[in-house]
Point group: C2
């Protein structure tokens, strides 16, 4: 459990009511991880949404399967941004791996519990998924730019 | 206005109730466009969500700005899929251009009216934005694969 004040500071949670923030804070935990851990791994079950409080994280994509040689940088996460968006999007499987490039502090939110809150409170669900869509579209924009550059 | 039966056939609208489908059908229009039109243009205001009924569409990205030479293929849309997802995601600006590669038939949905429905019926909004997030994540997966291949 964390304080709802921690969440309130971040635009991602901006439109939620006090009550909704408290419910989410109840299922959140603050954690720290050293540099170069794997926070989550591509192709594994996505069960947590993360809010990055401190540090920086690279998102890398293997290029397909275990034997793949490529580890393409497909995104970078700065403080205040969420990652693990796949934990709220079917089929709930990470599509890239997250590697902190510095020591990090995050809020981890149990995504199954978060989805349960959204089922009960559809308004929470609507706001949450709108914000998740914004985060995914940002990532898509970034990879489009990189793809166009790679092909130029 | 279109028939709600038209929408019901597509997974994108699968979880919505009869009443919700009827409300969306009221603000939908069926249209056809010839091959090689520009259905929508990158960096313009996104005011319509499209469901592709027949034909094929390429999504292309200029690589940044008017003078850019690259026109990278960043997605392809097949019948049954939606496009114009940016019409439901802030800042409501298309991030790529849509070019039919065959004559197409689409359902066009006024996204301002659709967002108004979601404001009134948060459950509709929650389901809609979950499905939009799935569509954007699919696009992100595709560009990640292409990016990793381009860098291999």
């Amino acid at each position: 459990m964390i304080s709802s004040e921690t969440l309130r500071r971040y635009p991602f949670f901006g439109l939620l009511s006090d009550e909704q923030l408290k419910a989410i804070a109840m299922i959140g935990e603050e954690k720290t991880y050293p540099k170069d851990t794997i926070l989550f791994k591509e192709n594994t079950a996505a069960t947590r949404l993360y809010l990055l409080l401190e540090g920086d994280i690279d998102l890398v994509y293997s290029g397909g399967g275990e034997g793949a040689v490529v580890n393409a940088l497909v995104g970078s996460i700065a403080p205040g941004e969420v990652l693990g968006v796949s934990s709220l999007i079917e089929p709930y499987t990470f599509i890239s791996s997250a590697r902190p490039t510095t020591p990090i502090k995050v809020v981890e939110i149990d995504s199954l519990a978060l989805r349960a809150l959204a089922e009960v409170d559809a308004r929470l669900g609507y706001i949450l998924m709108r914000n998740i869509a914004v985060a995914v579209l940002e990532r898509l924009k970034y990879t489009q730019v990189e793809l166009a550059a790679a092909r130029a």
